[in-house]
């Protein structure tokens, strides 16, 4: 079966565009970083000792679960798949090492999150361990991501100030 040349060209162009897009995801993906912090903060507020009002807590829980199982997985998953090669090939040992740890933590946190979503904390030992894994992995993950991406982080105050100045100068 022959394929029209125009289609082949079109398919190739699409692939290329997609590759470029995917390739571009690896660099300073602010949405992915922001999402990670949102998940971390919302998860933190669900922590029992903080005793958030139930009227807020219930919505926060739903948001944390839904976002975690959908947008977070897609966005951060795409970013991570693209960013991996940077981690592996990074010249600076610090970025390579923290990147690898982040990879594992991300995996742990996400998988445990899915377990909690579908099976929950029914009180058996496995569920309790997984709950702890989710909690402690996130506690390490968020600050580590911040440190790892410090120079480009959305939370880097210096960056934010400079960005604002640039906007002012342009105006």
């Amino acid at each position: 079966m022959s394929v029209p040349m125009t289609d082949v060209n079109h398919e190739g162009a699409l692939k290329e565009r997609l590759y470029k897009r995917w390739f571009g995801l690896a660099f300073r993906h602010t949405q992915a970083e922001k999402l990670m912090y949102v998940m971390f903060i919302s998860g933190l507020f669900l922590w029992e000792p903080l005793q958030l009002a139930w009227s807020l807590d219930r919505w926060l829980l739903l948001m944390h679960m839904l976002v975690g199982a959908s947008v977070f997985t897609l966005v951060v998953g795409a970013f991570w798949s693209s960013h991996r090669r940077l981690i592996v090939n990074a010249k600076r040992p610090f970025l390579r090492q923290t990147g690898t740890v982040i990879e594992w933590l991300l995996l742990l946190c996400t998988l445990s999150g899915f377990y909690l979503f579908f099976f929950g904390v029914t009180g058996n030992n496995l569920s309790l361990v997984i709950q702890d894994v989710h909690f402690y992995s996130s506690m390490v993950l968020a600050p580590l991501v911040f440190r790892h991406a410090f120079r480009w982080s959305v939370l880097n105050i210096k960056q934010i100030v400079m960005k604002r100045r640039k906007v002012k100068v342009k105006a």
């Binding site: 669900l46 029992e48 139930w54 807590d57 219930r58 919505w59 829980l61 739903l62 679960m65 909690l116 979503f117 579908f118 099976f119 929950g120 904390v121 029914t122 009180g123 058996n124 030992n125 569920s127």
Partner: protein, 967 residues
């Protein structure tokens, strides 16, 4: 003693002077002056507000609606800034303390406290408040920031508070007639002593004051600090329950000698003695419900509000002879009770005078029902001046009464004993008593004290309350109230019960509105309450118990086939409920449904049951079907949500005296959705973070308390207060109630909620699917003596039931000559045996001679019927003529027979064996048990011919066979 006393006083006065704080006596009050006395601050009771009024003009300067029922307020002063002060208010019905800014009345903090906070007083030395928790028997210490710093268990029912200058805190105990004295020299109160006010002894003449001191709401210290005055009533149930012999107004005097605080018994102010103002016609002026006290500025007069008869009573101390007077100057042979009443200001304007304060010649009386202030002029100093009305309506305490006119009228009538208020239709005869004289604050836990104090020899009279209530109140409340008012309070005497005037009907309808208030008896016959502003819920507001089975499968399965499950409206129940409705009126069904079908009451489904009730239905099949069809149901029995959302067990005697709360259940997003996807999502949320779910359905402290079960397993007759079933009281008196001995102590659930119904050991299990294995899973079989219904559905249940029955008793036999003695001991049951009213337990004795021929028998059933002469363990209620009331058990007046075996006790039965029989003699003795008698079963069969009602099996509980060789 007097030297020591004087020295103690000197030291204390010295200490007070050293601290540099000019401290006044403090008392818990609903009406107080501001620090500079230019304003009056009022706790506005059921208006739920606190007001500030200008003392000179009476104008309402500020009012803040802060809660439901503000009873007392206390004022704290900031020593550094005299203009800054705070008010602590007790919200009696909301179980809260509210800390307010004294100027703006803005709420600074709300503090949840143990139930029924009442008294509040400020201790300037320690800069803290003291608060009484009336229902939970607690004294709370609260700092000025609104934090509870200490919680002390007290004697029962603490209510009024007063603080002496030398740091002694006096606490009155409203229903036990006690006064506790605490040392509050340091910030942690220490109990010094409890003074028991004496009972005024029984007197054969009914109108002579007698009885137990009750309703001690307030205590006030005299200006010289030597005595405390305590207005209260005496409850006397020794005579017939009626107005001239039941409640007597009294003021007791406590001697406050340091270290020797005691009641001055001979100084007690009683009706016809110290309270004896004679009216025209040589008749003593009767007053009722003394409530609060104040002293005039010169300390010579004591003014007492009378909340029932609506009077103001004046004692003139200058005319009385105190015990500490100069004995040499006036020698008297006999002490005559000290100061006497010199004036009774009859008919204080407004309704229900409670709080009272005075300064200079101004006296202010606070009306709790009309929510206004009356101003009196105390007159010039001197024994002959009289108190005069200065301004009838000096001030309004509230801008608007939040209660509806109907509810306000009802509540006013409940508290009213003033004959002048409703000429010809007065609530009380001759001002003697109001409903509130006994039913303190309405219908609540104080009921238990009424039943305890009213208890007599139950074989002569089991009634503790109203005699022969008309239609058990619920069947015809209007006539019933009129009847009660006539018989008990001596009011409405000219009203014909069969044709009451319209005005009387209106009044009684209003009274009924108050009786049915959320905090009282919203469903009238039952004491069941819904913690909500609305009286009824919709079935959709409930969670179908079958839904719980998704995650709690084991527990659901146990419950569904148990006697607490969906089948509690079985034909036997329906038969009995129909009799009740026929006899007393349809509305009387609620008495039964409170426990058997509480959802039907709360969902306002009063009609005769026509669905469910299938005794044979397994595993709550109908519930599951309804759940699949997304159809709301009025569950029978006590379902998951009902039991697990009970927030309070009240201990008022049973009859479902509990509160269920649906509205405050923390629901997850989409939890109540009928959409399967949303439901699935809600379940995921519950599983992901189950704490809120677990906490909202679990109250371990309540479940461990036997009181929880007592709410249904104790019953009393409505209005008449005769105890029908007292499993809780039986348990309290049993050897299993040993809170100090963990090995011996067993509560209801220790025996009835374990799968080991033989040894009552803990059995491990999972209450949640994939949940943790709990070492002591509380089984929801609710194992009990009714093997009949559970056996129709589940053989495991039946086995457990029979197992627990067989552990209850031990049996010993012996023979002395021809006497055959049987001893049956209730060894393992925490209540009487049998525990239920319909259970048949009896002895069967069969003696056979050497040839095997039966020579003697007793208790052998004949065609399913237990012979009349069998030795039975049974309680029989009878009417006033001694005729058994049978199925009309709520109409019993006294106990005709009670041969049940109390826990830990032995009953001995003796049988005369025949003479001239051929030995050896073999005697077989059995204790037999049948859940329902054949007669009852036949009656139910006749009532429900379409139902398949089997003959209840006879269970052999225990057997002994003894062979006697010779006579």
């Amino acid at each position: 003693m007097s030297v020591v006393y004087a020295l103690k006083r000197l030291v204390i006065v010295g200490l007070v002077l050293l601290t540099g704080q000019a401290m006044a006596f403090e008392k818990s009050s609903s009406l107080i002056f501001s620090e500079d006395r230019s304003q009056i601050i009022s706790a506005n009771f059921d208006a739920g507000s606190v007001s500030i009024l200008d003392r000179a003009s009476g104008s309402l300067l500020k009012e803040a609606r802060i809660g439901r029922d503000i009873r007392r307020i206390a004022l704290s002063i900031d020593q550094d800034n005299k203009n800054a002060f705070r008010i602590l208010a007790t919200d009696y019905l909301a179980d809260q303390l509210i800390l307010l800014d004294g100027r703006s009345l803005n709420v600074i903090k709300r503090i949840d406290v143990p139930s029924r906070p009442f008294g509040a007083v400020y201790d300037q030395r320690n800069n803290q408040f003291y608060v009484t928790s009336f229902e939970q028997d607690k004294l709370l210490v609260v700092n000025v920031e609104g934090k509870i710093t200490s919680e002390l268990k007290t004697a029962s029912t603490p209510r009024g508070l007063a603080l002496t200058k030398d740091s002694r805190l006096l606490v009155t105990h409203a229903l036990s007639g006690e006064v506790s004295v605490y040392d509050v020299a340091t910030s942690e109160p220490r109990l010094q002593r409890i003074i028991q006010l004496v009972d005024t002894p029984f007197h054969p003449k009914q109108t002579t004051p007698q009885g137990k001191p009750r309703l001690l709401d307030n205590i006030v210290i005299s200006p010289d600090g030597n005595t405390a005055w305590l207005p209260h009533v005496l409850w006397s149930f020794g005579h017939d329950f009626q107005f001239q012999s039941t409640v007597f107004p009294t003021v007791s005097i406590i001697d406050l000698e340091v270290g020797n605080e005691h009641e001055r018994v001979t100084a007690r102010k009683q009706l016809f003695k110290q309270i004896n103002v004679v009216e025209n016609g040589n008749k003593t002026r009767i007053v009722s419900n003394p409530h609060d006290v104040t002293f005039t500025a010169d300390g010579k007069k004591v003014l007492v509000t009378l909340a029932g008869s609506e009077d103001l009573m004046v004692f003139d101390l200058s005319r009385g002879q105190g015990r500490k007077g100069n004995k040499k100057r006036h020698r008297r042979k006999k002490f005559h009770g000290g100061a006497k009443v010199t004036q009774i200001y009859r008919n204080v304007p407004g309704n229900n005078p409670k709080g009272i304060i005075s300064t200079g010649r101004d006296v202010f009386v606070q009306n709790a029902m009309t929510l206004d202030l009356v101003k009196f002029d105390a007159g010039k100093p001197g024994p002959f001046s009289k108190i005069k009305l200065a301004e009838a309506h000096f001030a309004s305490l509230v801008a608007e009464d939040p209660l509806s006119p109907q509810m306000r009228l009802g509540k006013t009538l409940f508290n009213n004993a003033n004959e002048a208020d409703y000429p010809g239709l007065s609530m009380a005869g001759d001002f003697w008593m109001s409903c509130n004289s006994c039913h303190l604050d309405g219908f609540n836990f104080t009921n238990r004290q009424l039943m305890a104090d009213g208890k007599k020899n139950r074989f002569e009279n089991a009634i503790t309350g109203h005699v022969d209530t008309h239609k058990m109140i619920a069947g015809d409340p209007i006539t019933a109230y009129l009847d009660i008012i006539q018989k008990t309070q001596g009011g409405m005497m000219d009203v014909a019960l069969d044709q009451p005037p319209l005005e009387a009907i209106k009044m009684m309808s209003a009274l009924n509105e108050y009786v049915r208030a959320p905090e009282n008896l919203p469903y009238l016959s039952t004491w069941l309450r819904l913690d909500d502003d609305q009286r009824y819920t919709h079935p959709e507001e409930w969670v179908n118990s079958a839904k719980c089975a998704d995650c709690h499968t084991t527990i659901y399965d146990q419950w569904a086939d148990s006697n607490h499950g969906m089948n509690m409206d079985h034909p036997f129940y329906r038969f009995q409920e129909d009799i009740a409705a026929k006899e007393e009126g349809e509305a009387f069904r609620t008495l039964c449904r409170g426990c058997h079908a509480p959802q039907a009451i709360i969902n306002n489904k009063p009609e005769v049951f026509s669905e469910f009730g299938d005794m044979y239905e397994k595993n709550g099949h109908s519930l599951k079907t309804a759940l699949e069809q997304h159809r709301p149901v009025n569950e029978r029995g006590t379902g998951c949500l009902f039991c697990h959302r009970i927030t309070k067990a009240e201990n008022s005697g049973g009859n479902t005296d509990l509160t269920v709360n649906l509205k405050d259940r923390p629901a997850y997003v989409f939890e109540d959705s009928a959409n399967p996807v949303m439901e699935w999502l809600a379940d995921r949320q519950i599983n992901a973070q189950p704490k809120a779910h677990r906490d909202s359905y679990s109250n371990p402290e309540l479940y461990q308390s036997s009181l929880y079960c007592a709410t249904c397993h104790n019953e009393f007759t409505t209005g008449m207060g005769a105890n029908i079933n007292d499993n809780f009281g039986e348990w309290l008196a049993s050897p299993f109630n040993r809170p100090d001995d963990a090995q011996q102590h067993k509560t209801c659930i220790d025996c009835h909620m374990t799968e080991d119904a033989t040894h009552f050991n803990s059995v491990a299990g999972q209450s949640t699917n994939d949940g943790p294995v709990k070492p002591n899973l509380r089984s929801h079989h609710f194992v009990g003596g009714n093997y009949y219904f559970t056996g129709m559905r589940n053989s495991e249940h039946k086995k457990l039931s029979i197992d627990i029955l067989k552990t209850a008793l031990t049996l010993d036999v012996e023979k002395q000559g021809r006497k055959f003695i049987v001893k049956v001991t209730n060894k393992n049951s925490g209540h009487h045996m049998p525990g239920g009213a319909r259970r048949q337990v009896w002895l069967e004795v069969i003696a056979t001679d050497a040839q095997g021929a039966v020579v003697y028998q007793s208790g052998v059933m004949n065609q399913g019927v237990i012979p009349a002469d069998a030795r039975r363990f049974i309680k029989i209620g009878v009417d006033k003529d001694g005729v058994p009331v049978g199925l009309r058990f709520w109409r019993y007046v006294k106990i005709g027979l009670d041969t049940r075996i109390p826990s830990g006790e032995t009953r001995q039965e003796t049988f005369d064996l025949p003479e001239g029989v051929q030995y050896p003699l073999t005697v077989s003795t059995r204790v037999l048990y049948q859940v329902f008698a054949k007669k009852l079963t036949d009656q139910v069969r006749a009532a429900f011919p379409d139902e398949n009602i089997p003959e209840p099996e006879v269970i052999e509980l225990i057997r002994r066979t003894a062979v006697f060789e010779a006579q």
